[in-house]
Amino acid sequence: MDFLEQVLEPLQFGFMQRGLAASVLVAVICGILGGFVVLKGLAFIGDALAHASFGGVALAFVLGFNIYLGAFVFALATALGIGAITRRGRVSSDTAIGVLFSGTFAFGILIISRVDGYTTDLFGYLFGDVLSITASDLWTILILGVVVLLLVAVFYRQLIFVGFDPTVAAAAGLRAGALNYLLLALLGATIVTAIQAVGIVLVVALLVTPAATAYLITRRFHHMIAASSGIGAVCAVLGIYLSYYLNVASGAAIILVATTLFLITLALTGLPDKAIEPEGGEGEPV
């Protein structure tokens, strides 16, 4: 069997076509949001929103609602809850994130522990099952993805200004608080699109790893998110093929390709001045 046949063979199956389309789409969206996640240090909150969405998935599953809607509502409510608790200033945002996401995740586990027989389906959301994506799932991902990308495009400059220099952005009259909530809502929507492709537990990797790789090889923000989307898409395609030929879990395969690419890039670039500083920390320029 030559290379071209190997490439084309899986594509005769509808589930492979849908799986490929879905994971590439998800990787592109995650790549763009991932730029903000990496630069603003939102990895933990991204992971938290993904886990929190599981409560919504389980609840929607049991009640017979759309699971994407359930996931999005839970992710959004958690993001708003974290913001509300942190704003009072008595609890740090790290702590608020830790409390809320484990609570909502536990709520999801509690629900599925009562629904025998369905648990295997629900575990598909935890660890990803991109090859079981239906045409209607694909439409949901596509519509959500287009909405996210349009909103990022419209508020692109505002999001960069607020991300780079929040105090001056607010002083100049930008609605910094609203823009931060917008970013969290976009993050929530992005995570929801990615749940079936890579699973709740691994979503954060798709947000962080390709963007971190892109950060190492680019010098401008728009180049970074373009590269991040491209790298994500390559990882998605390679991961799906690996999963087909090696018969391994697709989500895990996609993430491991991304991890490998990151480690190779890190070793090849290896410049100490590219280190990402924790936000609000010692951001002294060299």
Partner: protein, 260 residues
């Protein structure tokens, strides 16, 4: 737009039920260059942020060029932040940063126009930073970064420039360049307010000085305000005023604050 550049009345800010700024009442005439000095924790940054509406004030009013601080009036105030307010991870060029100054005036769904870009270019030229236009902001020196941030305020068409500790962590020649640049901007009609530790620069280069320690201890011409008596009152026992060969040197907490 009539009235002084800044008209502050009874501005008061409390953190955790402790006053950080209490009853600040003063005005800054147009075209003035005011240096705000005072001990660490004396409320300099708090005052700047309260002027900009970035921290909630318990009481008081702020008027800029005779108007309340709404979204349109905000554009008339250009703010140059302290270094640690900025997320240096963001891969943006000096030109990108200056162009941000045009953003508050830009309508949603609109792109930057050729005029916006031209204004950004001009602003970079004014601060003498055209040659680093494409450089990543993080790779510039502290003094260069401050000048790029000033250019952003100019691109915003700000009439009042607020600079929070613009020369801290900046080497001496760059400090002098920044103060000279501020003087040129003053000559061009801008009103300038600077918080700083550098008493001697305020004495030599500014036409107004303010002493601030939770309250406004003094405001007026540097010669009238930077007196031993008022400085001691402002810095309490934390400042030593030395007179060396006719020049005033101030030392805080064993730290050299600069002498003439």
């Amino acid at each position: 737009m009539t009235g002084p550049a800044l008209q502050i009345d009874d501005l008061s800010v409390a953190y955790n039920s402790r006053w950080a700024l209490e009853g600040a009442t003063f005005s800054v005439p147009r075209g003035a260059m005011l240096g705000v000095v005072g001990p660490n924790g004396g409320g300099k940054s708090t005052m700047v942020k309260a002027l900009l509406g970035l921290v909630p004030a318990q009481r008081g009013t702020v008027r800029v060029l005779g108007q309340r601080l709404d979204r349109r009036v905000r554009r008339l105030v250009g703010y140059v932040p302290q270094q640690d307010e900025v997320n240096w991870n963001f891969p943006v060029s000096a030109f990108d940063v200056v162009l941000m100054g045009r953003l508050p005036a830009l309508k949603l769904f609109r792109r930057y126009s050729a005029r916006d870009r031209e204004m950004a270019r001009k602003a970079l030229e004014t601060v003498g930073m055209s040659h680093v236009s494409d450089a990543r902001i993080r790779e510039l020196s502290g003094g260069q970064q401050q000048r790029v941030f000033l250019a952003r305020a100019l691109a915003q068409e700000a009439e009042v420039l607020l600079l929070d500790e613009p020369v801290s962590g900046v080497d001496a020649p760059s400090q002098r360049e920044i103060f000279e640049l501020l003087r040129r901007l003053q000559d061009a009609g801008k009103t300038i307010v600077v918080t700083t530790h550098d008493l001697s620069s305020v004495a030599e280069r500014f036409d107004l000085a303010m002493l601030l320690n939770r309250k406004v201890v003094g405001l007026g011409r540097p010669d009238d305000v930077l007196t031993e008596e008022l400085l001691n009152e402002t810095y309490e026992s934390r400042l030593m005023i030395l007179n060396i060969e006719g020049r005033t040197v101030a030392v805080e907490h064993g730290r050299h604050l600069g002498g003439g």
